[in-house]
């Protein structure tokens, strides 16, 4: 046994990739560490949500269990394990049991391909700080996130409850619709990186500047789609407690119920990590290339991991903040936003960015800071144009602002014509 280990853990150059044995052991360690980290973050995100919502609504929130209420999470966990599990009559037993797991697993799987720090030098070789460095990493995240819908849909169907079924149907329609807008919005990122390898996407942002500055329109579309994919307010129609009791998880109790919120929070963390990786440079530290160039050191790994974690935590706060700020969409608004607004904008934006990239490449501009600067200029113009088109005088000169003479006349001229409309109410 000791002999095998000494064979596996051969001492190697700390700046070069390790041997297969070291690779396998390192992968197992990374898996365990990431799983634990994400689960702890999930637990404390639920706590953060309750404290932040309380802060936003001027309440105290949970503050009794432990210092500042920090052990509330443990109390909730114990409560969920101790509760009775119920099964509705005529539920499809197998799928009813399977659905919470199907919701939870995809949320965790995406973490396999997200790079979370610069490579770590060890005595046994250089360990990449990503669990599985897939060459199709980005497509893998899209594929896995598209599977999360099964948990919700099957939970709704197998419960044998009409509200749950409606919630499940809403979940499937919503998630399929917004997946398309999400995929389209990220095509621009792939165009700039010329690759679907997440590490390459980070490298591209190091050389050109973060994508949030170069591709803001895609960034906004991705945020909206991420909210829809994680079923967070304003897109929580599958749950929508004012209409559907509790939506797809109406019939669930105890730990099986708890799996759905856990998967929701795990999805939030994943979405935050994807937003950071695709648009905020991943683990990159801004304004310096010190962290991106070899030789890699332990300090660099720790610092870059700190920056990555800070970005993800910011997104978690952002998700919570939006939840306690905006009301829920109506179902037709949800569908028209996804199909009639986001998809056409995303398509037009892909065409624009593709043209710009082709023209700049033909003009012989190297993909570097100059390339990024030109894209940044085009980006400002397109964001301004999109804002004024979407706004159409609603925020820049809103309805309650002082109208000019012509505007008042126009309103008065319209008013009588409406009253002559023939209808049952007229």
């Amino acid at each position: 046994m000791v002999h095998t280990f000494s064979l596996l853990l051969q001492v190697a150059d700390s700046q070069l990739p390790p041997t297969t044995g070291v690779f396998v052991i390192a992968s197992i360690i990374k898996m365990l560490v990431m799983f634990t980290l994400v689960m702890v973050t999930v637990a404390y995100t639920t706590f953060a949500e309750r404290r932040i919502s309380a802060w936003i609504q001027d309440r105290h929130g949970p503050n009794r269990v432990g210092p500042w209420g920090l052990f509330q999470v443990l109390a909730d966990g114990v409560k969920n394990f101790m509760k009775e599990e119920t099964y509705p009559a005529d539920a499809h037993k197998v799928l009813f049991m399977l659905a919470p797991a199907l919701a939870f697993v995809p949320a965790m799987l995406t973490w396999a391909v997200i790079p979370f720090a610069s490579p770590l030098p060890t005595p046994w070789g250089r360990i990449d700080m990503v669990v599985a460095d897939l060459p199709v990493g980005f497509l893998f995240t899209l594929a896995i996130s598209s599977l999360g819908v099964y948990g919700l849909t099957l939970a709704g169907w197998s419960s044998n409850n009409k509200y749950a079924l409606l919630g499940g149907l809403r979940a499937s329609a919503q998630m399929v619709s917004y997946e398309i807008a999400m995929g389209m919005s990220t095509v621009c990122v792939l165009l700039l990186a010329g690759n679907v390898h997440l590490s390459e996407i980070i490298t591209q942002q190091v050389t050109m500047g973060w994508n949030v500055l170069l591709l803001s329109v895609a960034f906004f579309l991705f945020i909206i789609a991420a909210f829809a994919e994680t079923n967070r307010v304003p897109f929580d129609l599958p749950e929508s407690e004012s209409e559907l009791v509790a939506g797809y998880h109406t019939e669930y109790s105890a730990m099986k119920f708890s799996m759905f919120p856990i998967s929701e929070y795990a999805n939030m963390i994943t979405a935050g990590a994807m937003l950071s990786t695709l648009f905020l440079g991943g683990w990159d530290i801004p304004f310096t290339t010190w962290d991106n160039l070899p030789p890699f050191t332990v300090l660099k790994t720790l610092l870059t991991f700190g920056f990555f974690a800070a970005k993800v935590v910011f997104w978690l706060f952002f998700f919570i903040w939006i939840r306690w700020t905006l009301p829920r969409f109506r179902y037709d608004q949800l569908m028209s936003l996804g199909w009639k607004l986001m998809l056409p904008i995303a398509l037009a934006y892909v065409a624009l960015i593709a043209t710009v990239v082709v023209v700049l490449d033909k003009a012989g501009i190297v993909r570097g800071h100059m390339f990024g600067l030109i894209l940044f200029g085009i980006n400002i113009v397109s964001v301004a144009a999109l804002f004024f088109w979407l706004d159409r005088g609603r925020m820049v000169s809103p309805a309650y602002s002082r109208l000019n003479r012509a505007g008042v006349d126009q309103l008065r001229a319209v008013a009588p014509r409406r009253s002559t409309l023939k209808g049952p109410g007229a």
Binding site: A143, I144, T153, L165, V176, E179
Partner: protein, 180 residues
């Protein structure tokens, strides 16, 4: 490990995923509940995706999951749930004795055909040129994208027109309202 264990590792996983694909597709055709059948089909697609990835066709494997398991089957499930087909006990679309016999014969014929195919020499047009290294830039997708947008551009664009026609047909059908 990389040298002597690789073929063993590879064939173990090939048989594992192959058996999973076969078992799930058998379950898929024999389930009475449409939702359970759909879920077995999803499992089949996963096993196939794993096989593609083992053949170094990562893009095809991921697309298998993304398109078939993630989108098409979700829409299938959506439709099955909306149709509300009743309790699975009442449902039975199994044909009688003759139907099953016929299905068995067709299945056997397919197996025989596959056996014959594996024995016969390959058509030369199907044989790949000697393996070349994946181009360093562009990764795994460039090797699929390049022929699609160069050699087969016309076929690719024609397919897109076909898909567009299908989408427009769906829109027209959905917009059709009864005349008032």
């Amino acid at each position: 490990m990389s040298n002597q264990f690789y073929p063993l590792f590879y064939s173990f996983h090939f048989y594992l995923f192959g058996l999973m694909a076969l078992a799930s597709s058998l379950m898929f055709v024999t389930r009475k509940s449409p939702v359970a059948a759909a879920m077995w089909l999803v499992a089949t697609m996963f096993a196939l995706a794993a096989l593609y990835i083992m053949l170094d066709a990562q893009f095809v494997g991921v697309m298998q999951v993304l398109v078939y398991a993630g989108a098409i089957m979700v829409v299938f499930l959506f439709v099955v749930m909306l149709l509300n087909l009743g309790s699975p006990a009442d449902l039975n679309d199994m044909r009688g004795k003759w139907g099953r016999l016929l299905a068995g014969f067709v299945g056997l014929a397919l197996v025989a055909e596959l056996m014959a195919l594996t024995k016969s020499p390959l058509d030369l047009r199907l044989v790949l040129p000697a393996a070349t290294d994946v181009p360093p830039t562009g990764g795994v997708i460039a090797s699929i994208a390049a022929p699609m947008f160069k050699e087969y551009l016309l076929a690719f664009e024609l397919t897109s027109v076909l898909l567009l026609a299908a989408i427009m047909g769906a829109v027209v059908l959905a917009k059709k309202t009864d005349a008032r």
